[in-house]
């Protein structure tokens, strides 16, 4: 799939932008803080409906627009809302049709005292959709250097990565995730109440069921996804390291549905566990039983201790955990393998090629990997890359690409020929 047009309004430092986007490769160049990354961020938002950069999504709205709205509010002019808008036209090579996807980020006041709320509106082909239903129609894979946090950071980084990626591929994943999260919140409130004031522990029953119903879906999808991603990533990694390293992705679920033979915990790292044969119903049943066992402890602690919200995934190179012992170079290469695997996996699963978004990644790679990556990018349907330094690219690559200059939130398209 590929974008044909992108228009942004009040998105970060970009007041207004209208771009026809060609297929193949676009290189965005310019100094730092000019808006290159914002363009990639906006495109990724259409795939994930979340930003990779900030959890405070209100920062996505142009600060000038926000203060103008606040000004209007003070002057009692009425117009007291600030809106950022991302509109994209893309072609889906599976259904062979052009689509239009629009996201509005609306910052609106609530209550009389400076309260503000961010509302997301999504329109697919002009029809309003819930965010959970809109995800998966447009696919993108994003690669930024800070993403080494997926490997080096805390488990929440890896869960976030899994959620954003899997939601694009499995219809229903986003729904299950939000239902699961809501059930956890209710259940934790109840556990807290039971631990502080006591009461009938059977009240947990309905929440256990909801947790098991939605949680088992998440676990089931994660088992499949991690196994398939591992297969692709291992292949790519083998090539990138010229056969020197074997990369493994190990899923380590907080509730593990696979029976552990002999409880040999020490073998955990070396022996891969195959959970692919498990049915979702079996996972649900087992999860429910596990929750029943954990009940006394959970009441005592006042919080839900097992389930996919505590899942972990580890990256192993030649059986060494990269999160703990990986060198900077090893982590970068593993991340590159993961990202390229993600593209291939999405292709296989959805039948569509995701748009590739690469932010300043070349500077972090050595010459050989740079060449490997550029060769890959060259063969993909559409890729947008940002760089401060065109010399990182080979002259042939630059000559074939569309090179655009970004300055002060304005993009100048200077086509070759």
């Amino acid at each position: 799939m590929y974008l044909t047009h992108l228009s942004l309004t009040n998105f970060r430092n970009i007041a207004r932008l209208d771009l026809d986007i060609p297929r193949r490769v676009v290189l965005l160049t310019g100094a730092n803080a000019q808006g290159k990354t914002s363009v990639l961020e906006a495109i990724y938002f259409l795939a994930a409906f979340a930003s990779f950069q900030t959890s405070a999504e209100r920062q996505l709205i142009n600060t000038l627009a926000v203060s103008a709205a606040a000004e209007a509010e003070r002057a009692k002019d009425g117009g007291r809302i600030a809106v950022a808008r991302i509109v994209a036209q893309f072609r889906d090579n599976q259904d062979q049709r052009a689509h239009r996807l629009e996201v509005r980020l609306v910052l609106e006041p609530v209550g009389p005292v400076n309260g503000q709320r961010l509302r997301k509106e999504v329109l697919l082909d002009g029809v309003k959709r819930q965010v959970n239903d809109a995800v998966g129609h447009f696919n993108a894979v994003l690669f930024i250097p800070q993403m080494s946090q997926i490997i080096e950071g805390g488990p929440d980084e890896r869960r976030r990565y899994l959620n954003l990626t899997l939601a694009q591929v499995f219809p229903g994943y986003a729904h299950a995730l939000s239902a699961y999260t809501k059930a956890i919140e209710q259940r934790n409130a109840l556990l807290k109440m039971l631990s502080e004031r006591g009461g009938d522990a059977d009240q947990l029953e309905p929440w256990d069921r909801l947790l098991a119903e939605h949680g088992s879906k998440l676990i089931h999808w994660r088992i499949q996804a991690i196994q398939e991603l591992e297969r692709e990533a291992a292949r790519v990694h083998h090539r990138l390291t010229r056969g020197a390293e074997v990369l493994r992705l190990a899923y380590d679920p907080a509730y593990d549905p696979s029976p552990r033979p002999g409880r040999q915990m020490s073998l955990k790292m070396d022996a891969p566990v195959d959970r692919s044969g498990l049915k979702r119903e079996e996972i649900e049943k087992g999860f429910l039983e596990r929750l029943a066992q954990a009940r006394p402890e959970e009441i005592a602690r006042g919080v839900t201790t097992v389930g996919p919200h505590r899942d972990e995934m580890r990256f192993l190179a030649n059986s060494v955990d990269l999160g703990d012992y990986g060198s900077r170079g090893q982590v970068r290469t593993a991340l590159l393998s993961l990202k390229l695997a993600e593209v291939e996996w999405m292709k296989t699963r959805t039948g569509r090629t995701p748009v590739l978004l690469l932010d300043e990644v070349l500077a972090e790679l050595d010459l050989q990997r740079r060449a490997d990556l550029l060769a890959y990018v060259d063969g993909t349907e559409q890729a947008l890359l940002t760089t401060t330094d065109l010399h990182l690219f080979t002259p042939e690559f630059v000559k074939d690409a569309n090179v655009w200059e970004v300055e002060g939130g304005v993009v100048r398209t200077q086509k070759e020929e």
Partner: protein, 200 residues
Amino acid sequence: MLPEPIQNLIFALERLPGIGPKTASRLAFYLLRAPEEISGSLAEALTDLKTKIAFCQECFNITVAGRERCEICESGQRDGSVICVVEEPLDILSIERIGAYQGKYHVLQGVINPIEGIGPDDLKIRPLLERIRRGGVLEVILATDPTMEGDATAQYLHPRLKALGVHVTRLARGLPVGGDLEYADQNTLLRALSGRQEMG
């Protein structure tokens, strides 16, 4: 800066659901200018609401004060062997409007919601169980909303009702009549598919 009586009224109106500060002041100034009978009848209606309305001791629907049981519970025409369990009195109104249900009701007056501190004991669940223990009930229809809290409440009630030997059913969920498959959200469609029925 406004005289106290009008300021008080604005504050009181603002507390109502769906009314913001602007609407509240517009309503307050309207009442100030309007003939006295308008504000008078409104005041009277508001007072009557609390003094002349009570809850039915059987099903906890709203009823006229002084009566122990509501019209539906007293009616000899209604089938007492079926009880439809709803969240709020307004839900009864919706079901009554169809005119197809002949059984009786039970209003829970809310749903289980731990975040808001609402547990089973805060709802009219115990009276429901007692009502069924008294006998004569064959079927209980759980008609709580298809939200997470409504589902959890139904899940909580299910084994407890079952234990009393009654038939427990839940309202079907799925596509709205006159709806369009193409525009149905995934979740609704999924539920409609898993709850599909044999054609008669």
